[in-house]
């Protein structure tokens, strides 16, 4: 896999996933699909984010969040997952930390759930199939908000 270190950076553009002070934003990825998880990881790490945790279902996601807190800046949360779905997991996370930055990952056709999540406190949502530009845009904008 290509990593940032392999190529000299000609345009001195700051990586999106790095704070002003140079520390990377730390992300927890919650998704039951290994494939999507990997994709998010690739996109994020290529921009300097640090994926500090991966969970395969909602319950594990909540647990990981509590474990990592406060050393986690952002959570990407799939909606359809076994055991505990993303919306319930979001609820639990917000209950635990009302300032949590959670971004929902949803497939097309789940508008109602996305709306519900936004009302509960999700900062943004991303629609699958994932597009690198959009993912980064929405994540960065949620972090800056």
């Amino acid at each position: 896999m290509r990593t940032k270190g392999d190529f000299p950076n000609i345009n001195e553009r700051k990586a999106e996933g790095v704070r002003e002070d140079g520390a990377p934003y730390r992300v927890l990825v919650v998704d039951d699909s290994m494939f999507v998880t990997k994709q998010i990881q690739q996109i994020l790490t290529s921009e300097g984010f640090e994926v500090v945790g991966v969970a395969v279902d909602g319950a594990e996601g909540v647990e990981k969040y509590k474990e990592l807190h406060p050393n986690v800046d952002l959570v990407t949360m799939d909606i359809t997952m076994p055991k505990m779905d993303g919306v319930s997991a979001l609820e639990k996370i917000i209950e635990f930390d009302k300032n949590a930055v959670v971004i929902m990952i949803s497939a097309l056709g789940k508008q109602d759930l996305v709306k519900q999540s936004l009302m509960i406190g999700a900062k943004n949502y991303i629609v699958k199939p994932l597009d690198r530009k959009k993912v980064l845009e929405r994540i960065v904008s949620s972090l800056n908000r």
Binding site: M1, R2, D32, S33, M34, F35, V36, K38, Q39, Q42, I43, T80, M81, P82, S106, A107, L108, Q111, D112, V114, K115, L118, M119, G121, A122, N124, Y125, V127, K128, P129, L130, D131, R132, K134, E137, S141, R145
Partner: protein
């Protein structure tokens, strides 16, 4: 779309395929669960989730045909989940068929092509599932079509209310209280956003954090519905500045424009509002026109569509009824063909999965790492021992030199002592003097001996440790390649279902021991023979419902697939409660086919196992399912390739049991090492029945063949040196004979020497060596020499071929005589 699909991203694609396969497996399993228990909600949820994930993943990797098709499937599943479709046999059929299409789509993709088959038919069937069940679907679609313009009209009204909302503004003011600034945030949304209906809520959620939202236009409940509003106005109070709100409420590619208006205290409407008022009215008019035209258009289309649908329904009905039975008949053969195709797919598979992915429990890797660290420690101990030995050596050489010195001195001084004795000094005194001077000599080696002893002990225990670790390591690595047999067993429910449908038999499949673990390579090669056996049992074993009732058995036949461990072998049994094997028929057939001699006496078990002989098929009629000329002999060949064996026992009228025995792994086997001339050979111990030491005169000749008597049996002999052309001294006092067998065949191999049993690590032979008949691979023995591993079944065949050739030659010559 996504730049994550460049050719470099094979890794991601690989993951996609692995996951897709898992989803498919889960889909198939749960659909079958659903068939027997249509109200199983867990299964439905699981199916839905799998289909959904698959769709998402397919869209991501830009397999549009796949994503599109799965989407239709998902729609149907959604209806099932909602309880709108009842799950019956037909539904399951359609779903399974769709799964097959998804499978072939994936397969084409993995081969680098795009599935070219026509899926419109199955798509129609899927749609018909949810359309057919609600007969008034056309009405429904019309209703939704009507609903759409209604909301649009409302929209028009909404913009109106916003613009002439002086009364409502008053109301808002009252709600907010005096002296509070009310902001109207007007947001235009981007209709091209894939989830454009979410925007309204998204902005709502953001604004909520900035202040109190008094009211929205359209109302909040409407926003929550699944309708897209191009423009929403939020009324809120709070401390935020206009710019702040504008900045925060703007979400790229969700919103197009954010405008914050201030509602000023007092009754007079502000200027900007008037301005917007005018344009608003214009806009309103045009919207109204648009809405009117759209409504009429949609209504027309809806009518058309409903007519089309009705026509279609009628047509299908008229077509379906007279063709009904015929249609079924036409349908059946393709189904069977499909099954055959599936089979050939099955054989193709292993080739495709050349770079296959293996999922391993992380604990197994951890265990390995543990063992590796132990070997590192072990290595350090060995280094230590080696240092000790060097030390010992140094010590020894030192002691040796002082020993030499002393001995030399002793020799040199001997004449002096002799002289002393001659001079009259008493012997006793001389002795005493010698002991004083050279007594050391006796004990000089004691120290070094004890340190040598210590080192040797340490060396021994370290070597012992190494032995233990390596065998554990070997086991650990093997365990990495171990996968549960459930991987292939999971395919059978579907197979049995399809087969029993096409055979018109009722069969219940039960599976036991699916957790039994097997080497991955073995599992891959095991699928085909297993399918063959199961197919055979279904086709020839289990009777039709009619025959079963006549025989007083339950209509439903049972098939049991069972796997278990037996030492370092795996036992797979296939039981059926069918009619069993007719021994007489088998014998008769075997005689007909020239497989056995008419006079040959056979036990029942021997007779049963004749069905594994090439060219044997007792089914009177050749069906598509089994008995296509390739019979169970293929099964035996494949199992023997895995160094296993297959046998069958049967009770007439009660059923039969196929037993397949295979070693846990292919990579390491137990072998009997033998020597022929200067060469070493390893014979797999599983094939070795017996070994004997015989004198030359015990070898007899029948028809020019060397044979030899073992108890009551006559075994033909084969000289390995002649077969492999190895120069050796054939005349000797004794010969060693290793009796090998596979199935019912037996043969004695004459070798020069038996060396012993050893673990043999099989190294495959490459390229042009692979064709060497009778050789399965190579192995490196402990002292570094190479030994070839003998493929017993091939060797037996070779021997038989020679025998047959010789026989036909004989027959030719004898017929010429007459």
């Amino acid at each position: 779309m996504s730049d994550y699909l460049d050719p470099n991203n094979e890794e991601l694609l690989k993951d996609f395929y692995v996951e897709a396969e898992m989803q498919l497996e889960s889909l198939e399993r749960n659909i079958l669960v659903l068939e027997s228990d249509s109200s199983n909600e867990d299964a439905i949820d699981e199916i839905f989730r799998a289909a959904h994930t698959l769709k998402g993943a397919a869209a991501t990797v830009q397999m549009t045909e796949l994503a599109e098709f799965t989407h239709v499937v998902e729609d149907a599943l959604d209806e099932i989940r909602g309880g709108k479709i009842k799950v019956d046999g037909h539904t399951v059929d359609v779903l399974l068929e769709s799964l097959d299409i998804i499978k072939s789509m994936l397969e084409s993709r993995s081969e680098g092509t795009v599935y070219g088959g026509d899926v419109s038919g199955i798509k129609e069937q899927l749609r018909a599932l949810f359309e057919g069940d609600e007969k008034n679907k056309s009405v429904l679609s019309k209703a939704t079509a009507k609903k759409l313009p209604v909301t649009k009209v409302q929209e028009g009204a909404n913009s109106e209310t916003f613009l002439v909302s002086e009364y409502e503004i008053l109301e808002l003011r009252e709600a907010a209280g005096p002296d509070v600034e009310i902001l109207a945030v007007r947001v235009k949304f981007n209709p091209d956003n894939p989830m454009n209906t979410v925007g309204g809520i998204q902005v709502f959620a953001i604004l909520k954090s900035l202040g109190t939202i008094l009211k929205t236009e359209p109302e909040f409940e409407k926003l929550y519905e699944d309708t897209f509003f191009p423009e929403v106005v939020y009324f809120l109070t709070g401390e935020s500045t206009k710019e702040g709100i504008e900045e925060k409420a703007f979400i790229s590619d969700v919103t197009l424009e954010v405008e914050v208006l201030q509602l000023v205290l007092g009754n007079e409407p502000t200027l900007p509002e008037v301005a917007t008022n005018k344009t608003g009215i214009q806009a309103e008019e045009s919207i109204d026109d648009l809405v009117a035209s759209i409504t009429s258009e949609i209504e027309e289309k809806g009518k058309e569509a409903s007519v089309d649908l009705k026509d279609l329904e009628k047509a299908t009905q008229t077509m379906g009824d007279p063709l009904g039975p015929a249609g079924r008949k036409v349908e059946d053969p393709p189904e069977e063909k499909k099954i055959i195709e599936e089979r050939s797919e099955g054989t193709k598979k292993p080739q495709n999965s050349g770079g296959s992915v293996l999922r391993v429990e992380s604990k197994r890797i951890d265990d390995l790492l543990n063992l590796v660290s132990e070997t590192v420690i072990n290595k350090a101990t060995f280094n230590q021992v080696s240092n000790q030995f060097t030390e010992n050596m140094n010590q020894l050489s030192q002691i040796q030199s002082s020993y030499r010195q002393l001995v030399k001195e002793l020799f040199d001084s001997l004449p002096d002592y002799m002289e002393k004795i001659e001079r009259g000094v008493s012997v006793k005194d001389v002795k005493k003097e010698i002991t004083e001077g050279y007594g050391e000599l006796l004990t000089i080696f004691d120290g070094v001996q004890s340190s040598f002893k210590g080192s040797i002990n340490k060396f021994r225990s370290t070597a012992q440790n190494l032995g233990r670790i390596t065998s554990e390591l070997q086991e650990g690595v093997m365990r990495i390649r171990m996968v549960p047999i459930a991987q292939i067993f999971s395919r059978f429910p579907r197979l049995v279902r399809d087969l029993s449908k096409s055979l018109d038999k009722q069969i219940k499949l039960s599976i036991e021991g699916e957790d039994t673990e097997l080497d991955k390579s073995v599992i891959e090669d095991l699928l085909d023979p297993l399918i063959h056996c199961v197919r055979n049992s279904l086709d020839h074993g289990i009777e039709s419902p009619k025959e079963r009732t006549a025989a007083g058995k339950p209509i439903e036949g049972t098939l049991l697939l069972k796997a278990s461990n037996e030492g370092n072998m795996i036992l797979i049994e296939i039981f059926d409660d069918g009619k069993g094997i007719d021994v007489d028929k088998v014998k008769q057939k075997a005689i007909e086919r020239g497989i056995i001699h008419p006079n040959k006496l056979l036990t029942d078990v021997e007779a049963y196992n004749l069905i594994f002989e090439p060219g044997f098929s007792t089914a009177a009629q050749v069906t598509n399912i089994s008995g296509r000329g390739v019979g169970l002999d293929v099964v035996r060949k494949q199992i023997e390739k895995l160094n296993g064996s297959v046998s069958v026992v049967s009770t007439p009228g009660k059923g039969s049991r196929f037993t397949i025995k295979i070693p846990l792994t292919l990579a390491i086997i137990q072998g009997l090492l033998v020597r022929v001339g200067q060469e070493l050979y390893a014979i797999p111990i599983t094939a070795v029945l017996d070994s004997h030491r015989i004198k030359p005169q015990e070898i007899r000749r029948i028809d020019n063949y060397e044979v030899f008597n073992v108890r009551e049996d006559v075994v033909s002999l084969m000289r390995l040196d002649r077969i492999f052309n190895i120069p050796t001294e054939e005349k000797r006092e004794h010969y060693f004979v290793v009796i090998v067998g596979s199935g019912e065949k037996k043969m004695g191999l004459i070798v020069d020497q038996l060396i012993g049993e050893e673990d043999v690590v099989i190294k495959p032979l490459r390229d042009h060596y692979t064709n060497a008949p009778g050789i399965a691979g190579a192995n490196i023995t402990g002292d570094g020499t190479v030994s070839l591993i003998i493929d017993v079944s091939q060797l037996l065949e070779l021997g038989q071929k020679q025998e047959r050739e010789a026989r036909s030659k004989r027959e030719e010559t004898s017929s010429r005589k007459y």
